[in-house]
């Protein structure tokens, strides 16, 4: 019964998302193309996608956490930490890349586990638990690097960040793999149903026999692991490791989720929406540059758009 009713809620939300999100996306693309016809060139599209991929990876994870009524502020700090962790191997051969990825996933999963445990078992508010985690990770990272990261990364990282296979950016391929898997997990598997039910109403989830705590913890683990991986791809894209890799991504990820129609009250939204939200955000940044406005104007436009879109969504979801 619960599964059915939460699907119903999804549908009503769906109709609205189906109109406004693609509309915003096409509107932006149209504006950009009119202003600068070369915007639609293959090269520029590839560039934009390459830029969007690390953010989109984080957004996918963040979406899971927001769906279970949470919030993950530790993602940006974790991105930088995974980048610093990667340099700790001081690897020179590309053969080490899988090892680096495995270590990152392991450490990130532990961070997600702690976040999830604090939120579920100790009933700490997600905002505070992940905020504290953000500060702790930042401290540990700076202490390890003493302010300036050293060590080196294998050459192959650059390929992961900016390389292309048959014209398709490598990091977009990675994003597609993660996206397909997570879409299956959230929208097709029974576990995904449990996530929606837990997010929609944790008490009734417990009553129908779902281990709501475990579902929530798992969502935090997904978010952290995605952030860790995104950190590695972002390092590949930027080309250097510093202590602030991914700074501001926690806010951008939350904003992208809200733009994509994922409700902060939990239980509503789709991964398609989240990914589109990320793309819209990156397009906004691009359009600002195309318009020749100062980079700081991105902040102003971002601020206005978050409030306006969030207001539209909250109106549309009023009973």
């Amino acid at each position: 019964m619960n599964a059915i009713s939460s699907v119903g809620i999804l549908r009503t939300n769906f109709q609205f998302c189906q109109v406004i999100i693609p509309l915003a996306l096409f509107g932006l693309i149209a504006v950009a193309t009119i202003l600068k016809p070369s915007f639609l060139s293959l090269n520029n599209i590839q560039d934009i996608l390459t830029q969007a991929a690390p953010l989109a990876l984080v957004v996918l994870g963040q979406a899971f956490v927001i769906l279970v009524r949470g919030l993950d502020l530790s993602v940006a700090s974790l991105m930088a930490s995974s980048a610093v962790l990667a340099t700790a191997f001081n690897a020179t051969s590309d053969a080490m890349i899988p090892v680096i990825f495995a270590a990152t996933v392991l450490v990130s999963a532990c961070v997600g586990l702690i976040n999830g445990m604090l939120v579920t078992k100790r009933n700490v508010s997600p905002f505070l638990a992940t905020l504290a985690m953000m500060i702790v990770l930042q401290g540990v990272r700076f202490y390890y690097t003493q302010g300036a990261p050293y060590g080196s990364l294998p050459e192959g990282f650059r390929f992961l960040g900016v390389g292309r296979i048959a014209g398709i950016p490598v990091n977009i391929c990675a994003f597609c793999v993660c996206f397909c898997f997570l879409c299956w997990l959230l929208h097709k598997s029974s576990f995904g149903r449990m996530i929606y039910i837990t997010g929609g109403n944790p008490t009734s989830a417990k009553l129908v026999g779902i281990n709501a705590d475990r579902v929530t913890i798992f969502c935090y683990v997904i978010s952290s692991v995605m952030a860790g991986i995104a950190g590695l791809f972002l390092v590949g894209f930027v080309g250097t490791v510093d202590n602030w890799v991914g700074r501001g991504y926690e806010i951008d990820a939350i904003v992208a989720c809200v733009l994509g129609g994922i409700m902060l009250t939990g239980g509503k939204g789709t991964l398609w929406g989240a990914a589109t939200g990320a793309l819209i955000l990156i397009l906004i940044f691009n359009v600002v540059i195309i318009l020749g406005l100062p980079v700081q104007a991105q902040l102003i436009i971002k601020g206005i758009i978050i409030i306006v879109i969030a207001a539209l969504f909250s109106r549309a979801n009023e009973p």
Partner: protein, 320 residues
């Protein structure tokens, strides 16, 4: 001492149980300070700490008021920044406008806070998103205006942060008076009690005849006011308007609020706990500096303290 006596004192002074954790931590830090450093336990050091704490103190009062009505204000840092730049930039051109600009800046803070509250009420968007949006807009505007510290203020304005009455810093006195006034307001005034009522249960508050919207507007406006006051303090301290000065303040203002026993989600907590939280954070960082502990380790300690403070009590009910 026998335990029932403690219980008696707790009841006698109507101590909120949530205050106990900040008091215990404060005792631990001060005791450790006296044992570990011979420079920590001097009156001069305590006065210096009080002087340095006030910027964070002002910001935390505002944050606390918003948290009590069940919201959160992530625009505090950007209001601090915007007001420092606004004040320093205008006074730089017209030094005679110094005193009007102090009030002008405070008014600016109130306006931004009012806008936050108004948008939150009218759209029903989560305050997290609204204040994040305003923060982004304000930061962008300030950074378009200037990328470096800019402007100047007359030397006498320095007195607001560095001035002393006898041996006691003026800024510290102003901070303590603010805390005291807010405490009296929250405890003994009908309007103050309304803040708790709205934070605890907006519908019940509405049904019992409280105009929730006005109360929420008031809380956000007050938060903007205190953020602007913190901005004035930073201008007085540095003499310039710095477009980056407020960045760490937003999150820093949440820590004392949480340590003081306020609950995200609203309706509970004592503002004096927030005052103790501010003093605790300042004393702790002062002590760690004397012990030559690196800033990086201080971050770790700060994060761990938040985790410990919020996970000691298991809070039932709504969360943010």
């Amino acid at each position: 001492m026998d335990l029932s006596r403690i219980g008696y004192f707790v009841r006698r002074f109507s101590l909120d149980p949530s205050l106990i954790i900040v008091i215990v931590l404060l005792v631990v830090v001060v005791t450790a300070g006296f044992l570990l450093s011979d420079r920590f336990g001097t009156m001069r050091n305590f006065m210096n700490v009080l002087e340095q704490a006030s910027g964070l103190g002002y910001a935390s009062i505002g944050q606390a008021l918003v948290v009590i009505v069940g919201g959160i204000d992530l625009s505090i840092g950007s209001v601090v920044t915007a007001s420092t730049v606004l004040m320093a930039a205008v006074v730089n051109v017209h030094p005679a406008l110094m005193i009007p600009m102090i009030f002008g800046t405070l008014f600016f803070g109130v306006v931004i806070g009012f806008v936050n509250g108004y948008v939150t009420i009218k759209t029903g968007v989560h305050p997290l998103i609204v204040t994040l949006g305003t923060a982004s807009i304000l930061n962008g505007t300030v950074l378009i205006y200037t990328l470096q510290p800019t402007g100047s203020v007359p030397y006498w304005f320095e007195e607001f942060s560095y001035g002393r009455i006898g041996n006691v810093p003026i800024s510290g006195i102003v901070m303590l008076i603010c805390f005291l006034l807010v405490w009296v307001f929250l405890r003994y005034f009908q309007a103050g009690r309304a803040l708790y009522a709205v934070g605890g249960n907006p519908e019940a508050a509405h049904l019992s005849g409280i105009r929730s919207n006005r109360v929420i507007l008031f809380a956000y406006s007050a938060s903007g006011f205190f953020a602007a006051l913190a901005g004035a303090y930073f201008v007085s301290r540095t003499g310039v308007g710095d477009p980056r000065v407020g960045d760490p303040i937003t999150l820093a203002s949440i820590t004392p609020v949480i340590l003081g026993g306020l609950i995200l989600g609203g309706g509970k907590g004592n503002i004096l706990g927030v005052c103790l939280g501010v003093i605790l954070i300042s004393l702790l960082s002062n002590l760690l500096n004397y012990m030559n502990v690196s800033t990086f380790i201080q971050w770790v300690i700060q994060g761990l303290i938040i985790i410990v403070a919020v996970s000691v009590y298991v809070h039932k009910g709504k969360k943010l």
